[in-house]
């Protein structure tokens, strides 16, 4: 994985010093909150319901054991003993004190981490496929390009005060596990006629109050010109994006209002000016960065089949874990392991300091010291020998992280909601917990199969409810928290936005409502292999609506 050189280290050091100065000016009152807000937001520091929240960047979701230990240390020392992994592959600490923040940043810097641009109207942390560099279906490892984008976008002087935040996601595989069509810019590896690998560029996707699926603005941009192309898009957005209304300020609105063709013409005109200029990325640079992401020293192993059926008989929990939490690796004899942060009844994405330490141990021992954070709020050990799976599982059992539910109905995404978030209309974590209890029985989960439930506490959609197969949105009506249910969302390459089925439910009624939807599916699916989303697509909303609201 990427290692800082002196330049990166000096950069983060200076940025930490700069932010410490800003914090001090706030503490002494030289800056008022209005002036401090955009500055702290540039550095991932939010003011939440109860306290400051610090969001730490995990660039493209890749971590080493040492870094994970540092996060554990921070959770223990400056917070209440846990951290929360987010849908943008970052980690949040919910209880730091303002005066401790410079110290936390210095601690992070010591392990090559920072909070730069994890918030604010700038280019945010680039996200990617959690199985990047390991997945069997990958065309190219997207992380070197993600790292280059990270560098290019870090404290970019022109794009630090954009109309709104700006998110870029990149994937090197045809199966989109990074939801690139729901980002301001999505990049998907593509091959041109000559067989060169470049990037399909999607623009104007996003969730929030106006969910939109990105549109393809360019079918093939070679590596060499990618930064110039990104800069062109950003410049058009910076100049022409709406600034009169924060709810209409994302690039998706610009693309929607002006039309893809207009924006494309502006971007291409800009591109023709900057193309071939200083942003041209030489192959040597790509190679140099790429060498940091060279595959670890894999052993030559025979393909090792896993007999899940047999293991299930011997140890059902282990069998379930194998069935759901293992992802195929491009090297024979290896597998990627998803560590679920969705224990039954737990808060999605939370991990304690002890759990972080345990995961760091496992990564060091069994996964070439590599870890990933997934946008579904789980952790991943990307490179585990099949022969070591049992040992990893046992380690996870000990840490309380062995839930074998990856991709199942209890593997939910939920935003922090009213428990932490100042913007929330409703709770989301307790809803997730209640649903999780309802479907706790492993056999039941296995029977249902792949089903993504995503929960947001308000219209800002941090819980990605629009792309949940079932989405749950907290709204407030006349002082009570209600939950609207959407159906049919999909964040992958078959992107779609879920549709609201009808009036909201009170919190207590939500788990039952979900159960009714699931029952429709179980009753109407053509075969046990037809996944929930396929049944929904085939049948449309009607039977589900009826199950919720009766026939009227």
């Amino acid at each position: 994985m990427y290692r800082y050189d002196e330049f990166d280290a000096a950069f983060v050091r200076e940025r930490t010093a700069q932010f410490s100065d800003q914090v001090n000016r706030r503490l002494t009152g030289e800056l008022n909150e209005d002036q401090f807000r955009p500055l702290r937001l540039m550095n991932g520091l939010y003011l939440q319901l109860h306290a400051y929240m610090l969001r730490v960047a995990v660039p493209y979701g890749t971590l080493s054991g040492r870094q994970m230990r540092k996060l554990a240390h921070i959770a223990r020392t400056y917070d209440r003993g846990y951290g929360h992994f987010t849908t943008r592959q970052n980690i949040q600490f919910n209880w730091p004190r303002l005066k401790d923040v410079p110290e936390i940043l210095a601690e992070l810097a010591s392990v090559e981490m920072h909070a730069i641009q994890t918030s604010g109207n700038c280019i945010r942390n680039v996200t990617t496929d959690q199985f990047a560099g390991a997945a069997a279906d990958e065309i190219i490892d997207p992380r070197p390009v993600a790292e280059i984008i990270r560098q290019w976008s870090s404290l970019h002087p022109e794009f630090s005060y954009l109309p709104r935040k700006f998110k870029i996601a990149i994937t090197g595989a045809p199966a989109d596990r990074a939801a690139i069509r729901f980002h301001d810019i999505g990049l998907q590896a593509a091959t041109n006629a000559a067989g060169d690998v470049g990037w399909e560029v999607w623009v104007g996707g996003g969730l929030g109050r106006t969910p939109m699926i990105g549109k393809m603005i360019n079918g093939f941009v070679p590596n060499e010109h990618l930064l110039a192309y990104l800069e062109s898009i950003l410049r058009v957005y910076n100049r022409y994006g709406r600034r009169d209304n924060k709810y209409k300020a994302r690039i998706k609105i610009l693309v929607h209002e002006e039309g893809l063709e207009t924006i494309k013409a502006q971007v291409e005109a800009e591109f023709s000016e900057v193309r071939g200029g200083v942003l041209t990325l030489p192959q040597e640079e790509l190679d140099r960065i790429g060498s940091y992401f060279a595959p670890p020293s894999f052993e030559d192993l025979p393909a090792t089949p896993i007999d899940i059926a047999r293991e299930t008989i011997l140890d059902p929990a282990y069998g379930r874990w194998l069935d759901n939490n293992i992802f195929s690796h491009y090297r024979p004899g290896y597998a990627s392991v998803t560590i679920s942060l969705k224990p039954i009844g737990g808060a999605p994405g939370d991990a304690t300091d002890a759990q972080m330490e345990a995961v760091a141990d496992l990564a060091e021992r069994y996964s070439f010291d590599e870890l990933r954070v997934s946008h579904e709020q789980n952790l991943v050990l990307p490179h585990v020998r099949v022969a070591d799976l049992r040992a990893v599982y046992d380690g996870l059992v000990e840490a309380g992280l062995a839930e074998g539910n990856a991709g199942l109905i209890t593997d939910m995404i939920a935003c922090p909601g009213l428990d932490f978030c100042a913007l929330a209309n409703a709770r989301s974590i307790p809803i997730a917990q209640a649903i999780s209890h309802k479907f706790a029985a492993p056999e039941r989960q296995a029977e249902i199969g792949d089903l993504k439930i995503k929960i947001s506490g308000c219209i800002n959609a941090c819980g990605h409810h629009h792309v949940g197969h079932i989405g749950i949105l907290g709204v407030e009506k006349k002082g009570t928290e209600l939950y609207q249910i959407t159906l049919g969302g999909d964040g992958t390459e078959h992107a779609s936005v879920g549709k609201i089925l009808g009036p909201g439910f009170v919190a207590d009624a939500v788990p039952d409502a979900i159960e009714r939807l699931v029952d429709v599916y179980l009753g109407r699916r053509e075969t046990p292999d037809e996944p929930f989303i396929a049944t929904v697509r085939r049948l449309g909303d009607a039977p589900f609506k009826e199950a919720l609201y009766g026939t009227t």
């Binding site: 330049f7 950069f11 005060y161 954009l162 410049r235 990325l281």
Partner: protein, 429 residues
Amino acid sequence: MTAASKIAAAPVAQDKLRALGIMALNGMFDEMDALGVLRQAATELLAGDIAIVSSFGADSAVLLHLVAQVDPSMPVFFLETGKHFPETLAYVETLKRQLGLINVTALHPDPADLARFDPDGTLWETDPDSCCHIRKTEPLEPITEQFGGWVTGRKRFQTRERGVLPHFELTSDDRIKINPLAYFSDADVNAYKAEHGLPEHPLYAVGYKSIGCAPCTSIVAEGEDPRAGRWRGLNKKECGIHFDFNGAIAKPMAATAELKLFKDGAFTADPFRAWAEGDDPASVRYTHVPLPEFLAARDAFLANPHPLGLLVSSGDKVENVEGDLSRFASIAVRFPAFTDGRGYSTGRLLSERLGYGGELRAVGDVLQDQIPLMRRCGFNAFVVEHEPTRKALREGRLPEVSIFYQPVGTTEVPLGTRPYLRRAAPATR
């Protein structure tokens, strides 16, 4: 070298050629041949199109003596600022008589300006730039337009800033400056005076070495830079009139107002003002004209001979004035709120793509945390309303990250370890 008298009217495209001609002239005269230089200028290069502004100070006599030898009818202008020592005024008369100069004109400040900006005659104390502006720059301005060349008495040795000074210079507004004494030292001046029996300025003997207006001149200590006596303690080295004729010349402003324009590492008086309702496109000067106003009366603005600025607001497209950018001595880009980042793109377009090289100033909500970013985007001047920010700038304390990942701007020397930063932009730029 005889055809050069068309110089003042030549089109811009020939700038280079002309500059080269001037360079060539610089090699033609012996360093000390002041008379030869002046004669070349007055009789060939700029016959009938040359004049001199003299301060009638301590060492003006030498230059005026040279002028008298070449052409006693050459126009000599004296800035009668109203602030001179009586001894200086007497000295004007002495030199006129003794050297036989027959075309000396005194230029007086506009009484209306004095009444408005310096009613009690103390402006020099609070704002010498503005004082010089109304007493020197303004009276001189209509005169400078009438001549293609000017003789100056500047010498290389006088201050550090003048270490290199050629005999002939081309100013940025296409005029020629003749510096016959460029290579003269203090001793040379004295020797010349002695040799030709030139009268001394009455105050020279009592310790005044460089003499300007009375309030702004003090006695120079032994061994001190002779011009150190001017504007002592006021952090002002040059009088506006020695700048290029369209250069940065101060404009009167309220004496008590704090300086807000930060440029070249210091707060300085701002010669520019904002566009006001009813301003006349044909005659405004030192004004930042809003881009839409400029486009609405483009011809009048282009015919206006005065220095002008341009104001670019957030929604304006600078591409629309692409061809006219060289018209502006200053471009102000407005940041209506520091969170509105459009101005950064504007700055880069102006400085990087459209090749604008003049003063590029950020105005509006300009705060210390954004100034480093603005600089990288091409801004070289800042109008700062926020006092803590002014304080930080005065103290040189900007919260800055000094190394960059991405290449931005025209001057960033890529350093560190980012190889793609080191690649020069292709030559086609």
